[in-house]
Subunit: 248 residues, 2 copies
Amino acid sequence: MISKAQIAHIRSLHQKKFRKETQFFIAEGTKSVLELMRSDMEIEAVFATQDWVLRNNPAAFETQVVSEAELSRITSLVTAQDVLALVRIPQYKPDITELQKEWVLCLDGIRDPGNLGTMIRLADWFGIRHILCSEDTAEVWNPKVIQASMGSISRVKTYELNIEEFLPQLNSKIYGSFLEGKSIYETPYPSSGVLVIGNEANGIRPELAGLINEQITIPSYSGTSGAESLNAAIATAIICAEIRRNGN
Amino acid sequence: MISKAQIAHIRSLHQKKFRKETQFFIAEGTKSVLELMRSDMEIEAVFATQDWVLRNNPAAFETQVVSEAELSRITSLVTAQDVLALVRIPQYKPDITELQKEWVLCLDGIRDPGNLGTMIRLADWFGIRHILCSEDTAEVWNPKVIQASMGSISRVKTYELNIEEFLPQLNSKIYGSFLEGKSIYETPYPSSGVLVIGNEANGIRPELAGLINEQITIPSYSGTSGAESLNAAIATAIICAEIRRNGN
């Protein structure tokens, strides 16, 4: 059984306002929850079906057994999963010395939660451990972001900050994805740097463009009448793959 | 003014059943609609606000001026756009001789409409003009697919067919994306071929694996504890970029 107060608390976390107020977020589905359990994140509570508990045996955690009907009352998804966890939002502080040694992703106004979650997942795949998010980027703790990140949220650190103020402190070489720039295949990449990806519709803000050392672009092969752009997460993936292919 | 019958007709097209029955689909938003207008597709009707008509002046098309309130009654989106078009579903027949000369994308059970639309868009960017879709792949004419394809649906031809039966007829070299395979960077690519991408959760069906000549994989850089996989559209993009980078 899950209490009415618990239901109300969890349901409130579907909204950004209450996530901000209470500093909790929810994660749903076996993959996300198990990966969060294995990580350093602080799990406050886990709600799962009896079947799920038997299958996954999360011994170290107190899991509250609930019915599918109860899960469907607390889920943020169209169809409830077998498990939902209540997790404390981690407070990451950027460590400049650490960030200077690595490739860092920097998102300037990514609005779609699915795109953001996909970017966290692909950053994880490419060994990018830190993502700087402008204040107008979608909120990382939105259930749709968590869902799309497929557990990678437990490994990739995100920082919401004023990127115009922060980037100059890093002293790293800054690359930006533009529709007109140097081909990503003709650009040399150092062993650390920052890759800036702009908003889905408008790209990188002009105010940021002055901070960018290399404007890079993914060549198109469609001729003059083809697609005008790529989805932001797709562009990020292709550039990250290219940076890593070059041995960085 | 839009008639009650028209509203009912357009709303019915939010459902696959009625798209199949009537062989119409809907496209929404300036980019999609203008690109469809420029293409060979058969536009049956366009509904737009007065402002949209003044801004875009689609002289060659009879555009029915409607109010925002009327658009919100026919939209398939959460928030209606300024324009909605009713378009006849094209009947493409695969031309084996043509397909043999090019790189062709083949989707085995892609279920998420957003992923499918993103794949059509990136295929267009990479000059891939034909996509073979297994019968259990999401339906291409779903409004969410059209939306995510950002107009590329007007240039990329899709074929719903039994891919196990069809692929052997092509006589092309067949590459499949797997979690364990040869690195995409160590694989030579001919000037034409087929790239098979499997279902988001389960990958390529074992029944298809026997048809695949090269199992390829995108190297991960996350160490042993990182992301286990990439989103299907992301993987497709990275492989298509690599095929094209090699000059094919």
